[in-house]
């Protein structure tokens, strides 16, 4: 408690600590979902889900998603049942008062890889793989940043020493990240003939994670266009009405 107070006092006195290292701003990418008419590319979403499932789910949870939400990326009821059924879900207590494991159902939340943060840290050299369900909204730069981290693994420049168990990453703040490069060429076998380059996988999984951060994005933009058209027309009418009412005032 004392420490908290003095930390806060420090923050007040000196403001916030200087950013640790020169984080490089990730370059802007072109996304199917950006712009006012943007929609998610369905094929990319499904490939992205595959990348998440096979490449990230071992470490990262997406706790805000339920299996039934996958309808939003174009899966049918039966596909979703099959996907959910691959997970083991702890349920109970049953009539005997015991907890039991059962296969997942569409209404279940995505099962997380670790039961709690400590277990996650224990499995990752003390680093915590954050929940990815909000990642595209929870970082400055959003999708561009997520993509940047995924493709940002390069050999460290001369003179930079990378700590044990850390990896050099151009776009991660501080440039040393505990996550080993998660994507490899052809690491995820795409079914639709798309070439599984690291960039392609990064793009797909980022699209999927952006959808996971805000599954209502398309509904929002589509309604927004209608609302704006209505408001512009209606405001035009209001302007005409105002002109008419005021015509006689001098």
């Amino acid at each position: 408690m004392r420490r908290l107070i003095s930390a806060v006092a420090l923050l007040l006195a000196f403001g916030t600590a200087a950013e640790a290292a020169e984080a490089v701003k990730p370059p802007k990418q072109h996304w199917s979902f950006s712009g006012i008419f943007g929609t998610f590319d369905r094929a990319s979403l499904q490939r992205g889900f595959q990348v998440y499932k096979e490449g990230c789910a071992a470490c990262h949870a997406v706790t805000q998603l339920s299996y039934r939400d996958l309808k939003g990326i174009g899966y049918q009821e039966d596909d979703i049942k099959a996907i959910a059924a691959q997970a083991k879900v702890m349920d109970g207590p049953n009539d005997a008062g015991e907890m039991f494991e059962r296969v997942g159902r569409p209404s279940d939340k995505f099962v997380r890889p670790f039961p709690n943060e400590n277990a996650a840290r224990a499995g990752n050299n003390g680093a915590f793989p954050p929940d990815l369900s909000m990642i595209a909204k929870a970082r400055v730069g959003g999708p561009d940043y997520v993509y940047g981290v995924l493709v940002g693994y390069v050999p460290p420049p001369a003179g930079v020493t990378v700590a044990d168990g850390m990896h050099f990453n151009t776009y991660f703040p501080g440039q040393q990240i505990a996550m080993p490069a998660p994507l490899n060429v052809d690491g995820v076998p795409y079914q639709d003939g798309t070439k599984a380059t690291v960039e392609q996988q990064a793009k797909d999984v980022t699209t999927f994670l952006t959808w996971a951060s805000e599954p209502t994005l398309e509904a929002r933009k589509q309604m927004g266009i209608k609302v704006l058209i209505f408001l512009i027309v209606f405001t035009g009418i209001l302007y005409a009405a105002k002109r008419k009412v005021w015509a006689s005032v001098h």
Binding site: I5, G15, A18, A138, V140, T216, M223, G224, T235, Y239
Partner: protein
């Protein structure tokens, strides 16, 4: 207040016993309004509409929101994902707060430019400052509710300010928190108060309206209405003009709600609150940044807190600090320049507040803070005495006849 002859029998029956219709007729239809109000006079009614929007969306949010540290974040995400149109309600409420402040800040600066606070409208102005304070408290506590990282750390930093009070400071902070840190009791009381304060705002807005209708609106010329030729009924003239202004406002508001809903937000607030991890930059919402800059401009914590509160409290005595007899800056060529300097000063303060206090931000913040108080405490009293205002027009109708004059 001669009761008009209402055509509808039921209306007449009710009005005889409960004169609400006479009241509305009087306040809207007969209520004489200067005919030269510019679009800067739209922002008062806009603020009232935004308040209604905030209360309406807030009530629906509260039906789905869970004020508990373990569930608050997820309950807001549930609103975003699973509640029908929950994302819409939440984005309107979240951005509505920002637009509320934009509208009210414009409204306040309008008042400063045209000297709206001068006699006989001092209490009207003071009630407005009370509304501003209540809004700030409401918005601050609302921002804590989604229980993200900025919610938690913002609440921690701001409540900790009270520990600067000598002797009883720590005790007050513990009392505010309901414990030894920002925790579940804090969240619960903030939710309770966040629900309550907007209704207090409604009450003060009503008093604000009573005071307004006593002498009517000011106007861009700052001279009094001299007779019927200077005024027009509020309805239909200003209802029409306000409706058009509302339309323009809604276009901008909808543009942000639907296409850039997180424009004003901090990404960190989409990370669940974690008392063990301090975010690298703790920044308040944009509408608090100038005050935050003033707070940090002064190296002594207690004095910083006092300066921050004083920056708003000084507005209470503004009607007496400004010694000029002429209201409108239109006829005060020197004041008009300094008005714009103050506007720029406030933007500079906001910019400094958004940045870590290092390097030239420190000195800039200090100069801008000093200037802010200089404007109110020294410039205004002195300028009012020495400035020679331009000649005032005879009446509102005289200049309005010329097409160049604020006839919008």
């Amino acid at each position: 207040m001669a009761a008009p002859a209402f055509k509808n029998g039921l209306v007449r029956w009710i009005d005889h016993r409960l004169p609400v219709f006479s009241f509305l007729h009087h306040e809207l239809h007969e209520y004489p309004t200067p005919k030269n109000l510019s679009y800067w006079w739209n922002f008062g009614s806009l603020a009232g509409i935004v308040l209604v929007i905030m209360i309406a969306t807030g009530i629906f949010l509260a039906m789905h929101y869970t004020p508990h540290t373990l569930y608050a974040f997820d309950s807001v995400e549930r609103i975003m994902r699973d509640v029908n149109y929950g994302w819409l309600i939440r984005y309107i409420h979240m951005n509505g707060a920002s637009f509320f402040f934009i509208v009210v800040y414009i409204h306040i600066f309008r008042g400063m430019y045209y000297g709206s606070y001068k006699a006989p409208r001092e209490l009207l102005w003071i009630l407005g400052v009370v509304i501003l304070l209540l809004m700030m408290a409401t918005a601050f506590m609302g921002y804590v509710l989604p229980w993200g990282q900025m919610s938690f750390w913002g609440a921690t930093v701001i409540t900790n300010l009270f520990s600067a009070i000598p002797v009883v400071g720590d005790w007050i902070v513990t009392w505010l928190w309901g414990g030894f840190s920002v925790d579940n009791p804090t969240l619960n009381r903030f939710f309770s108060l966040h629900y309550l304060l907007p209704f207090l705002i409604v009450a003060v807005v009503m008093l604000h309206m009573v005071a307004l209708h006593r002498f009517g609106s000011g106007n861009p010329l700052g001279i009094d209405v001299k007779g019927p030729q200077d005024s027009i009924p509020f309805h239909p003239y200003y209802t029409a003009k306000d409706s058009f202004g509302l339309g323009v406002f809604l276009i901008l508001f909808a543009g942000v709600v639907f296409f850039a809903p997180n424009l004003f937000g901090e990404p960190d607030n989409y990370i669940p609150a974690n008392p063990m991890v301090t975010p690298p930059h703790i920044v308040p919402e944009w509408y608090f940044l100038p005050y935050y800059a003033i707070l940090r401009a002064i190296p002594n914590k207690l004095l910083g807190v006092i300066a921050m509160f004083a920056s708003i409290l000084v507005l209470f005595i503004l009607p007496w600090l400004d010694t000029a007899r002429v209201r409108s800056a239109k006829f005060r060529p020197t004041y008009r320049k300094f008005f714009w300097v103050l506007v720029i000063d406030c933007f500079v303060l906001g910019y400094v507040g958004a940045n870590p206090p290092e390097g030239w931000f420190v000195i800039t913040g200090q100069i801008a803070t000093a200037y802010y108080f200089f404007h109110f405490l020294i410039l205004l009293p002195v300028l009012g005495l020495i400035e020679r205002p331009l000649p005032l027009p005879q009446s509102i109708s005289a200049p309005v006849l010329k097409p160049a004059e604020g006839k919008a």
